[in-house]
Symmetry: C2
Subunit: 420 residues, 2 copies
Amino acid sequence: MPSEIRDAMDAIGEQARSAGQVIARTPTGAKNRALEAMARQIEGARDRILEANAADLEAANRTGLSSALLDRLELTPERVGAMAEGLAQIASLPDPVGEISDMSPRPSGITVGKMRVPLGVIGIIYESRPNVTADAAGLCLKSGNAAILRGGSEALHSNGAIGDCLARGLAEAGLPESVIQVLKTTDRSAVSAMLQSPHYLDVIVPRGGRGLIEKVSAESQVPVIRHLDGNCHVFVDDHADVDKAVEIAFNAKCRRYGVCGAMETLLLASSVAAAVLERLLPRYVEAGVELRGCARTREMVPGCTGATESDWETEYLAPVLAVRIVDSLDEAIAHIGRYGSGHTDAIVTNDLSRSQRFIREVDSSSVMVNASTQFADGFEYGLGAEIGISTDRLHVRGPVGLEGLTIQKYIVYGDGTTRP
Amino acid sequence: MPSEIRDAMDAIGEQARSAGQVIARTPTGAKNRALEAMARQIEGARDRILEANAADLEAANRTGLSSALLDRLELTPERVGAMAEGLAQIASLPDPVGEISDMSPRPSGITVGKMRVPLGVIGIIYESRPNVTADAAGLCLKSGNAAILRGGSEALHSNGAIGDCLARGLAEAGLPESVIQVLKTTDRSAVSAMLQSPHYLDVIVPRGGRGLIEKVSAESQVPVIRHLDGNCHVFVDDHADVDKAVEIAFNAKCRRYGVCGAMETLLLASSVAAAVLERLLPRYVEAGVELRGCARTREMVPGCTGATESDWETEYLAPVLAVRIVDSLDEAIAHIGRYGSGHTDAIVTNDLSRSQRFIREVDSSSVMVNASTQFADGFEYGLGAEIGISTDRLHVRGPVGLEGLTIQKYIVYGDGTTRP
């Protein structure tokens, strides 16, 4: 890595560390005033942000970015407004920092409890969508963390313009601008420098496609909160209400195809498969959903393509659905354990003990009973906002909100108490 | 790495994964029966364990292991009994797995909450003390995790004999023996294989000296819960009760020198320094504690050695204490922030608002008011037992008990509920 990049990143890291110490101690009111000022700055700079975005879009068109990526990159006056509104909403959320819990006296005479504190300095590495700049910055600030944000080179101008607004908002509220630092370099070695910097980053949150997340996971010396695939399942149990099963299976696939909580494989108990498919098939056909079935599914669904091993493993994010008929709850749980990605899986059943077994035995970040997997979302869960959905097993699983960006330390009170 | 080691470790990893799925679902009663059976097996095999330990001690004597390490390696009938008792105690602790919390209805009609679940497969890499084999195995089993244990080569026979007891205990309780696998190879590449195996290990807990922990941290592809140095401070504030300050400062240094919660630097507010030192010095002199002071301390303590920069950074684990006189709470907090290791730090004060500032602003895994830093311990905190003390910032800080070996997943209930 070029030494000037290493030096520049070290300077940024040191600034983040010292800003992190300030923001960790900043009272809620002052953090909220900063968030509101950042929102106003974005509102006030709408035209400048759109101009910067137009420059990014022009360059992206020239380099032939795909239309899906162009859509994610594009800002509209509404999207800029939504960014500002998002920051104001974060200001209205309860502040987790400083929350004290579980205080209880011990036989020795000390009283022991926990206090919630920020993680420190958070690195965000993301692609395309410039609104992440404002969202992630707002969540990090409110949870008392400093942040270093590294967006994709395709969004350099947009992110820079948004970053300027955030800095002005911080300054307006009397907080150090280096609480939020948006990198203004497209040099790829800046990412490597972040990944190799456990001395100034406490955690990295990658947001983007599989390639980005795998690169970050493989190379990072800094702990990572990952969001990998959502290969989500709905299992319709023998004891399911067929009406509910049909509604859930349709919603879980068709509400939105491109979200990580979308169902990718439908598992049907053999005793109800025919009844469910009879009602569900016409709706899938109307929506244009292509089915790929196991042998028994194909017997029931004329013309259905055969599912291969890779279908069970695939997160389609598209109007395609793998369907498998199983003979038992055990078989369903085993299928999910083998092929699932530990994101979100649901059972449809009216049987209490089966619902309990499914909840206990399916090892996913969200496990649902009689609800659509598309509910997997921080807003729906009441977190107010989310920085991503963790499919990791340490620190936090599922949607990551403000609390997920904090940790508890122990606090101990005595009265001159010594240990025997 | 030799391919036969890689293959052997992969086989062990696969067995651990499948045993992990079994133990994650095992009810509390069955886990407790296994713990009690393991305890009985250890009691019953006391002589065999002591013979194996004698073989290790003989080999260690031949290779010239230091007397401190020999002491840690040595088992006595009492130490074997304590191991068995430790397992029985873990059986009596509440089981965190399956605990449901925070269930609350959302406007959409779903009810969202959290369920505590095991982490999966835990790797323990440790040195010398064979009792870790039983302690760590018991904590992992009770928290529903499978474990792969890799002790030091100096304790190979002892760990093997203990591991055999654990396996027989598991079998007696009808659980898979591979829930707890004690590696019986001294090949160092087995450790490297563990560090490179995120596919079958969910977390690694290293227990040992700085060298081991730094190697594990630097090389591991698996998330690590680290326990680094305890460079602990006591700050005696202007508003301290001098009696309490003297008792705490003496206990924090002298109760035991070799524990990570021992005070290594004493910070004295200038207004009370003389009064505290007058009472404290004779006691330190009697205990044989050597002081290393700042310039102002040396004016008050005739013949006191001068403290260098490295004294502020050092975890002595010995009857040596660095002493610094400071002019304010700010200066004390800044000193701890700069030189401390984020383990355990205490203030002695009667001033409420200063105690609150210290608690909020000192970023350590345990922050104490008017109590000895030697209280930093899972038993003292009411965790029942601990697998170590985390100085990491993610997942868990401070003493790690059963709860620290688990994580919460989301559970969602609907009634045929779909997302609009």
